[in-house]
Symmetry: C2
Subunit: 275 residues, 2 copies
């Protein structure tokens, strides 16, 4: 089986690396509109060869590892693929992407969200074990053809991922809490500190807690603007729920109700019984 990867950054490049050791994959090829990314990906051995967009359509499976708005655009140019070709999108939002899939290729299409990533991006960010032991969410699979479902499940399990099936609407709601809201908070925390008079003196004191909380504020603004755009309603809802919680904390501290504060914090710690 020949695999094509569109987008050779962290997600696509890491996929290329992970696929190297899978016996039923004969070769991988890549396409990226950024030529320096193509050169870098080849040099780093992320894919076997770089091909044209037309050439990539001849692959058995095509993975879309590009920003979520670009996924919607590219899908419109994939309507003339062979019946047996599988297309897998790896975007962080699912409902808008699924709704944008042209009818003629809906059966070929698999909507996947691997819950894996780092704050880094570009081909040099690619790492072989990015996906290993992480969750991949597959959405609205009853609309995908059996052959394509099986291929996707096979590939994701071979790179070590744990498969979860979910409705796209539900996925987007959950993802707004688990991923999109945390990014908004991390960016806002970074901007709060950068807005102070002496960010350097403040950051000198940064320990593990702050570093963890601000790590994802390093993520690509281009990519995350697209995600916020596509999951706008759910994101706004989760931001509002968060604001209520933070306001609760602020009011308790303002009113010096320390027993209540300890209870509020204690409730938060219960999360780790599930996580």
């Amino acid at each position: 089986m020949k695999i094509g990867i569109i987008g050779l950054g962290l997600i696509g490049g890491s996929l290329g690396l992970a696929l190297k050791n899978i016996k039923f994959i004969s070769s991988t090829c890549g396409f990226d509109h950024n030529l320096s990314h193509c050169e870098e990906a080849l040099r780093l051995g992320l894919v076997d060869e770089i091909v044209s967009f037309d050439e990539i359509k001849k692959c058995d499976m095509i993975f879309l590892a590009i920003p979520v708005e670009a996924i919607i655009n590219v899908l419109q140019n994939l309507t003339n693929i062979p019946k047996d070709t599988t297309i897998v999108d790896l975007g962080s939002t699912k409902e808008k992407i699924i709704n944008s899939v042209p009818k003629e290729i809906r059966a070929n299409f698999i909507a996947a969200h691997p819950m894996a990533g780092t704050e880094k991006f570009g081909p040099s960010a690619a790492i072989e074990n990015l996906y290993h032991d992480n969750i991949v969410v597959l959405c609205n699979m009853d609309e995908s053809g059996d052959k394509h479902k099986n291929r996707a499940i096979q590939i994701f399990s071979h790179i070590g991922m744990k498969i979860v099936f979910m409705n796209a609407v539900e996925h987007d709601k959950h993802a707004s809490f688990i991923s999109h809201l945390p990014h908004a908070l991390s960016y806002a925390l970074a901007n709060s500190v950068m807005g102070e008079e002496e960010p350097k003196s403040i950051l000198l004191l940064a320990g593990g807690g702050f570093k963890d909380m601000s790590r994802i504020a390093k993520s690509s603004p281009l990519m995350w603007t697209d995600i916020f755009k596509q999951n706008r309603k759910n994101l706004l809802n989760s931001i509002e729920l968060f604001q209520k919680e933070l306001n609760k904390c602020k009011t308790i501290v303002k009113e010096e109700k320390w027993e209540e504060l300890e209870k509020w914090m204690g409730n938060a710690t219960t999360l780790h019984k599930i996580l």
Copy 2:
């Protein structure tokens, strides 16, 4: 030199472990009002022996590794120590603690904040390299006696810490951004998810970003209530500045100003040029 540690949890226990390999330290002893902590600390070898509160006063140096409100209480019971005894507090807030030090022992007293910790607590959380390569802030050192200053600097540098001198007022402001606000955000994020109908389904999707953002929401509510109490004004101020940033993000998303969002995120990423 004989070292006494009051409080044998993560902070005190890790200090005990780190001091083991220092040649000029003859022995370490510990005191904790929680008897099971004492037993556990001995079993784990965090200190050489467990002693009474009166006995610990005979040490050359006494470290206070207890919640910040308890530090203030204990200091009132240390007024009768010998002139040569050094007291070092390891609390996360500095101004209120320094103001509470009885005059007769002010010269003996060193206000230190090691910027190190994990979300775990109790003797079993102690790790030998907790302090290594991290910052320790020493506050208002001109009010401490030379002998005591030198001893503290010597010890902290021997356990691998990088020393920063700072005014307590400034420390508390910076600490509210770098440590106390992140804890409030992490607790609020955890509570937002726990307030949803199906926290389990949401948390099933948790990747590295969410795990990092919620990690410190596991921290001890008892300890953190004390910290929020002592640094109340700075914390409220930093929460308000954060709320403005998050509101800015919400408004941009609501009004679908995507270029502005990318710019806002881009500004946040500049933090990592300093960090």
